[in-house]
């Protein structure tokens, strides 16, 4: 929240009766947030550098100042006494809202932003009961801003957040305010649309329903959405996101603030591609090959049968997916160690890169998978060839790779083909056993991003059929294989337990804690324990 603190000196001020000390370059609106006072704001956005102070809705009373001051622009000063909700401040705010409502269509019942609209919120807060407007409202219509974004000019309050996001954060000055005064509207150059790979963020910064994603238009009411903190699986950056779901379907992804990863933003590739995961054929029960046919079975029988077969596996190959969670990859490695398969490869889809100039840490990275680093950490290697060779007479074990690009007869000759995954491609159907596992959205777990940041995601969807998290299935298999009549070691039943087992057994992850990874993630090697471990060899010197 605060910019770099260069000086140790803090400024003390009083906001709505609460004393607070903050760094000197803090604005009043930020300081107010620190004491729990959310001053209304439209043009101010913490992720956009400029503070034009043009919407006038954040006006506050500062003792000793002749006029109300915009709290977004005003820096804190020693001894300042601020009243954010004095009669004068509230009256000014009421006027601003009333003026904004003059031409606002009040089409809230059919507006995508209803329920998460800052105009609704502040109109509600200033409790304006009746309109004093007798004139007809100005009607401006709508426009296409991008292939996937529509602009409802009537709803726009010209806060220019979208324009300034494009200009200052995306550094692509392609969105502007056209005309002036009451006729002003947001526009692109005539005949052109926004094609910036980060354009979707203009919809997120819009405080009202003026900018809307066409693929979300009329899809869901905000209050019907379940929101789950997660990590975008679109590339190796691992942007922190919220997955919005309705009736067990993903409807949209929204960025979740993390100053270490994606700030307030995310790219359009990330927004789009996960929606597709609603589709596709999923295995919904364990399938075992009996007399040449795949037969659905319960989990107990399936795991016992698979464990028996795995005991006989002499050698083989392993394929994993960089979309699998750290915990799943860890237990898959354990299983492979147990049955004597070394190595293993994963294929990463590659794509064009894009960088958000104003926050260069946020990039759409070439690796279009969230957990290539995690797969490498657990001893799997990148596979760069065009097509995988057929296992022929060998055994093969697959974790979550859909095998979609492989020929139909791939793996048919394998001595044993175990498929632990969530897609039923034609190659996957050649398996002797198909164990259905959840996608990342249906489970809890962690991914390791491109720079070794371990980030947790939460369960957003109910699993398809009997699908279970891969780490749960694999841990159970491992413990069945280890069973020498004593029942074997207890398998974890919670993601947090699986995580701690993994951390205890993976030196690179030393020191990580499920709780401290929390919602913001933690870098490998950044924890106290890891630092101590790294320093350990120095002792002898």
């Amino acid at each position: 929240m605060y910019r770099n603190v260069k000086t140790a000196e803090l400024v003390s001020l009083k906001i709505d009766g609460t004393e607070i000390s903050v760094p000197p370059d803090t604005s009043v609106i930020e300081a107010a947030e620190a004491v729990g006072v959310l001053v209304p704001r439209y043009c101010y956005h913490p992720g956009i550098p400029t503070r034009p102070a043009q919407c006038r809705v954040c006006l506050v009373e500062i003792e000793g100042q002749p006029k109300l001051q915009p709290s977004c622009k005003m820096s804190v000063q020693e001894g300042m006494v601020v009243h954010t909700a004095s009669e004068e401040a509230r009256s000014a705010r009421r006027s601003v809202i009333e003026l904004l409502l003059v031409n606002h269509p009040l089409d809230c019942p059919i507006c995508d932003a209803a329920g998460q609209c800052m105009l609704q919120d502040y109109a509600f807060e200033t409790h304006q009961l009746a309109s004093r407007l007798n004139e007809e409202k100005l009607v401006m219509g709508r426009d296409r801003i991008a292939d996937d974004i529509l602009y409802f000019a009537d709803r726009c309050i010209i806060c220019t957040r979208c324009v300034r996001f494009m200009r200052e954060v995306a550094e692509d000055d392609a969105l502007i305010v056209a005309q002036r005064g009451y006729r002003a509207y947001i526009d692109t150059f005539p005949g052109r649309v926004l094609d910036n790979p980060f354009r979707g963020n203009i919809v997120d910064v819009c405080p009202v329903g003026a900018l809307v994603h066409e693929d979300f238009l009329f899809k869901a009411r905000f209050w019907d959405l379940d929101q789950t903190a997660s990590v975008c699986p679109g590339c190796s950056t691992g942007c922190n996101v919220t997955i919005d779901t309705k009736e067990n379907q993903i409807v949209r992804l929204k960025p979740r603030h993390n100053s270490e990863v994606n700030s307030y933003w995310m790219c359009d590739h990330g927004r789009k591609h996960l929606i597709m995961s609603n589709r596709g054929l999923r295995p919904e029960a364990p399938l075992l090959r009996r007399n040449g046919k795949l037969v659905p079975t319960g989990w107990g029988d399936a795991l016992t049968w698979v464990a028996e077969r795995l005991r006989e596996v002499p050698s083989g190959m392993a394929i994993v997916s960089p979309h699998a969670a750290n915990e799943s990859l860890f237990y898959f490695r354990r299983l492979l160690d147990r049955i004597g398969i070394a190595g293993g490869t994963f294929r990463v889809e590659r794509g064009e890169e894009a960088i958000l100039s104003g926050f260069p840490k946020l990039q759409l990275r070439a690796d279009r998978a969230p957990n290539a680093s995690g797969a490498e950490l657990h001893g799997f290697e990148r596979f760069d060839g065009s097509a995988r060779s057929d296992p022929e007479g060998d055994a093969v074990a697959v974790l979550e790779d859909p095998l979609a690009e492989l020929p139909e007869e791939w793996g048919r000759q394998a001595s044993f083909f175990l498929y632990v995954g969530n897609r039923l491609s034609s190659a996957a159907r050649n398996a002797h056993a198909i164990l259905p596992v959840t996608t990342f959205a249906e489970m809890e777990g962690t991914f390791t991003n491109f720079e070794g940041r371990v980030q947790r995601f939460h369960q957003a969807l109910q699993p398809a059929g009997l699908a279970r998290p891969a780490w749960l299935v694999l841990a159970r298999l491992v413990s069945l294989l280890e069973d020498d009549g004593d029942g074997g070691a207890a398998a974890p039943t919670l993601a947090s337990e699986a995580f701690q087992v993994m951390v205890g057994d993976t030196p690179a992850m030393a020191g990580l804690e499920w709780a401290s990874v929390g919602l913001k993630g933690a870098r490998l090697g950044s924890t106290e324990a890891a630092v101590l471990q790294a320093q350990a060899p120095v002792e002898g010197a």
């Binding site: 502007i176 056209a178 002036r180 526009d187 150059f189 005539p190 052109r192």
Partner: protein
């Protein structure tokens, strides 16, 4: 054709009038290049030259087209969208083609009191157009203008860059007839 430039303007802005030619290239001509360099030399940044160049396009073509905005953006290293935002802010850059004679009838208070409304109506009648519309022969576009600053000579009418003062409805046909003679 010689153009009369008011002496107070001529010294300061010697390059402020271009001969109307809707088909002429904006910068791919000797005159265009000269104009561009003259404008650029007057400002510390390229962006600052935006208004004069939009003005140049407006004088030369009678309006500012999207192609004009694109080529200005390219010359000034701005995005076309930014140029569009500025061009659309100012109402006096025409965003649609205009007739050879762009007739602006002042209807602000002084002119209004002196019958500007009837003058405007007469212009529209004589040219067979509605406000802002270009006549079929491409000769005339008539619009209502805000104060032209000639309140002492109401009704004031500006045709291209020439003023006609004390205009009455009766004088309108004569003024229109005079336009084609000298091209003004």
């Amino acid at each position: 054709m010689s153009r009369r430039i008011h002496p107070s303007v001529a010294g300061a802005q010697p390059f402020q009038l271009a001969e109307r030619d809707p088909e002429a290239p904006l910068f791919e001509s000797a005159e265009g290049q000269e104009r561009l360099q003259a404008v650029l030399s007057r400002y510390p940044t390229k962006r600052a030259a935006l208004l004069p160049l939009l003005g140049y396009a407006n004088e030369l073509h009678g309006w500012v087209s999207t192609q004009d905005m694109e080529s200005i953006a390219e010359r000034l290293e701005l995005t076309p969208a930014y140029v569009w935002s500025v061009a659309s802010f100012y109402t006096m850059y025409n965003k649609h083609p205009t007739g050879r004679h762009f007739i602006q009838v002042c209807t602000n208070i002084s002119c209004h009191l002196n019958g500007a409304q009837r003058v405007l109506e007469r212009f529209l009648e004589e040219t067979g157009t509605r406000p802002g519309e270009t006549s079929e022969d491409g000769r005339h576009t008539v619009i209502e203008a805000e104060c032209l600053g000639a309140c002492g000579f109401a009704t004031a009418v500006q045709i291209n860059d020439e003023y006609h003062e004390n205009v009455t409805p009766e004088r309108v046909p004569q003024i229109l007839a005079g336009l084609d003679g000298n091209g003004s």
